[in-house]
Symmetry: C2
Subunit: 142 residues, 2 copies
Amino acid sequence: MKVLNKETDYAVRALISLGMKSDGWVSAKALSDEQTIPYQFLRRILQELIRNGLVESKEGAGGGVRLAKEPGLIAVAEVIEIFQGKVQLSECMFRKQLCSNRANCVLRHEIMRIEKMVNQEFSQITIGKLIDDLKAVEAMKG
Amino acid sequence: MKVLNKETDYAVRALISLGMKSDGWVSAKALSDEQTIPYQFLRRILQELIRNGLVESKEGAGGGVRLAKEPGLIAVAEVIEIFQGKVQLSECMFRKQLCSNRANCVLRHEIMRIEKMVNQEFSQITIGKLIDDLKAVEAMKG
DNA sequence: AATTTCTGATACTAATTTAGTATCAGTTAA
DNA sequence: TTAACTGATACTAAATTAGTATCAGAAATT
């Protein structure tokens, strides 16, 4: 059971990398090389991040992308939602056969609780936090 | 982002159904009809549940399957693990580029915490509990 | 003005996973 | 001996995920 797919994975890595370079525009090519993410794939991912306001871009030579917000304001939950949609159960688990009244369905209730929990957790992990953690690890290594 | 796939979904439904019939063997055919689960698919799912000791079977005419344990001792977590494997992150998120020391990797640590949490929650939801919840809902409907 | 370096948009193919089907051998009850 | 079952396993189809390709247009550089 894989929690994060490649898009989310690459997106988070790209966001971390962008967050660590505070100045100027970074080209998709440069990012792709640095993080060894397939170039065209990364382009599409960046475009999606741009559409969703996490990243902004500048066209033309010397252009590129950069974070559109403080790293501390970008939660991993947002990234997951962009590329994988909201966490949800199999739609059929609580169907007719077992539970004719969806609204009152206790089972459904149970799992929505878990979903909410997971979402809250991922909301608290921001790109900024990941960068800090990374720096801490780097520092320890000396 | 789908948490449960069809196999898990069908498996849970089958287990609930079996748990509600306390007596005798139920044929895959009967279960398939009752829960409208594709017969051959259900057969494979049941075989997997049998291999994993959640269900036991009797061959031949008049045979079928039944729970091998108390419903209260079968956790949804087990079922998920059988059909979808342990919850895990994308393997690549914490690779070389970002974190050369997997063992000490703080990021990894973060998400393993969430995984553990989810697992604990799913461990507490047993087939027995689901059956009780279902009965409560049925009773309310009058 | 022409060229190069970049993004925007979007269509496409390939690989993998998930869902579902089919078949045959063997077991048990009637 | 036949019908109703499971055991094992190979197969196909559909959907999703991963990755590629292409063309148009924008800005910096020459």
